[in-house]
Symmetry: C2
């Protein structure tokens, strides 16, 4: 990440780890790679962290916190379509603000060890349920058509999560534009009315 010089050592390690874990994956990144990126000896990392997995753990759970915080800012009075729009834009904004960390959150969580792995999966399930509730409210209110939620829900998440895996230029599209386009695609479809 940028502005590394303003971070303390712990922060530098986390930032470098986010970047390396994103680019090469957790398993293919060695502690020696990480130490080199930070500019210290491998053994010195252990003055600041307790294990390789602990770095991954902090990245994953910190991202989870941010996704939940964003959900809490949705207008509870708005109609389902409007709530969905806010949730989509919020989700994408969190990804965009944490380019490296969100890729790690999305792809590398499986290298968490128990009990963290179980806790993580549980949080993820809760988060998905919040989106499901919005979609079902839309159906109950007659605003959304009846569709198989087992398909629509993962499709929505896949659509929101693509942002991290593309090259920088594409990801520089403003989150509001990406979010609104995906939302319009989902609500109105490609076809002219």
């Amino acid at each position: 990440m940028a502005l590394t010089q303003t971070l303390d050592r712990k922060g530098q390690i986390q930032a470098a780890a986010q970047n390396l874990f994103r680019e090469r994956g957790f398993a293919a990144t060695s502690m020696r790679d990480l130490a080199k990126a930070v500019g210290i000896e491998p053994a010195s990392l252990y003055s600041h962290i307790t294990s390789k997995e602990s770095i991954l753990r902090e990245i994953c759970f910190h991202m989870a916190d941010q996704f939940f915080e964003q959900l809490d800012q949705i207008d509870g009075q708005a109609n389902p379509a409007e709530q969905l729009k806010q949730a989509i834009i919020g989700h994408i904004s969190v990804i965009r603000k944490n380019y490296d960390a969100s890729a790690v959150f999305l792809h590398e969580w499986r290298f968490l060890e128990e009990p963290n792995l179980g806790r993580f999966k549980s949080l993820r399930r809760d988060y998905e349920q919040r989106f499901r509730a919005i979609l079902e409210a839309g159906q109950a209110a007659g605003q959304f058509r009846q569709m198989n939620m087992k398909i629509v829900l993962p499709t929505l998440f896949s659509s929101m999560n693509w942002a991290y895996e593309h090259v920088k230029p594409a990801t520089l599209l403003p989150p509001e534009e990406v979010g609104e386009t995906i939302w319009r695609l989902f609500v109105q479809g490609l076809e002219h009315k």
Copy 2:
């Protein structure tokens, strides 16, 4: 995959590798893990393959072949919306027929070494262009609304590619149903007309 007993050794190695690379990732799967899954000694693998990367290479390019074959079966006379439907269902069918291998294709290709990595990326770009051409034909014909293709195209691919990463029950939904639901979502949207 099932029916291992009907495969020759090379085929068994490929099937086991597809499964392990999907479940743990390429980097976190050792040749000793692979040998154990096949039931032979690690060194014996090298009677059938030339390197760990060569296994990955065969998986990735074999999947690429299948995706392109599927595209060639689309009805060139049909209108863009119909062509899109066929392309989506075809893409998802290929994934479904190759549950493990498609996950490897989608996630582990970055561990290819040059020049295979470059060749792979190029094939991928070509494949995406074929979908883009269908969408743009729909816009040119006035059937699809004008939307930012830099967003719509990756959204479409993300939507099609989720199938592999979910637990078995969800993936047992028939490809036609998944494909048609995603297609309807894209063309008509969630909202009632």
